[in-house]
Symmetry: C2
Subunit: 123 residues, 2 copies
């Protein structure tokens, strides 16, 4: 499962992982997928990216980077790390007395694919 999450760039949901692995392990159960995803998160091998349309999404890349989330199709795309974020992160800790441990920068909008579809529909 870890390998699958590292191979794909689609930031899958638990259900996606389940369906994907079901092909190779026909009697895999959804409960096991959730259990293992939680397990991997606890060990820091994968990370939760946040819920899109009510479904939590996972990321096999734990190195700091940002995400773009398409509000139309729910696609999540990796973006390079947002460097100024780090400075801001430190400032927050000092100013507010928080123990800031990490930060995430999320851009929302419409992805290229959905924009193209929209253009096609107008022809």
């Amino acid at each position: 499962m870890l390998a699958l999450l590292r191979q794909t760039t689609c930031h899958p949901s638990a259900d996606w992982v389940y369906r994907e692995m079901k092909a190779e392990y026909p009697d895999l159960s959804l409960g096991t997928v959730y259990r293992n995803l939680n397990h991997l998160c606890e060990r820091g091998l994968i990370q939760r990216v946040g819920a899109v349309n009510g479904q939590e999404r996972y990321d096999g890349v734990v190195a700091p980077h940002s995400h773009f989330i398409c509000k139309r199709c729910g696609a999540i795309v990796d973006l390079p790390e947002h460097a100024p974020g780090r400075d801001y992160l430190d400032a927050v800790g000092v100013q507010y007395g928080f123990q800031a441990e990490g930060c995430e920068f999320i851009v929302r909008g419409v992805c290229r694919g959905c924009l193209d579809e929209q253009a096609d529909a107008q022809i």
Copy 2:
């Protein structure tokens, strides 16, 4: 409900809003709370902040600003707008062909209150 969300700084969940309003409107139902929260979101009068511990949280402040989320108690605290984020946002649109509409910057860690509790417990 809009007034309540604008008054509080706690970025409440639907359930919090329900319990809070139940005092004044004893036969308010949870379904109505959800319906109205969605309604207000659609009209852009409030915004969703993301789910914490499986519960969506709402914010009566829609002006751009960032959030700190305490991983211990789930508190959400407003932070000033993260200005460099805007430039990054524009760059993303140009580079990837996305129609970037908004961005959010989230800092995670442990809030002051939880840090203090932790310190107290050690005495």
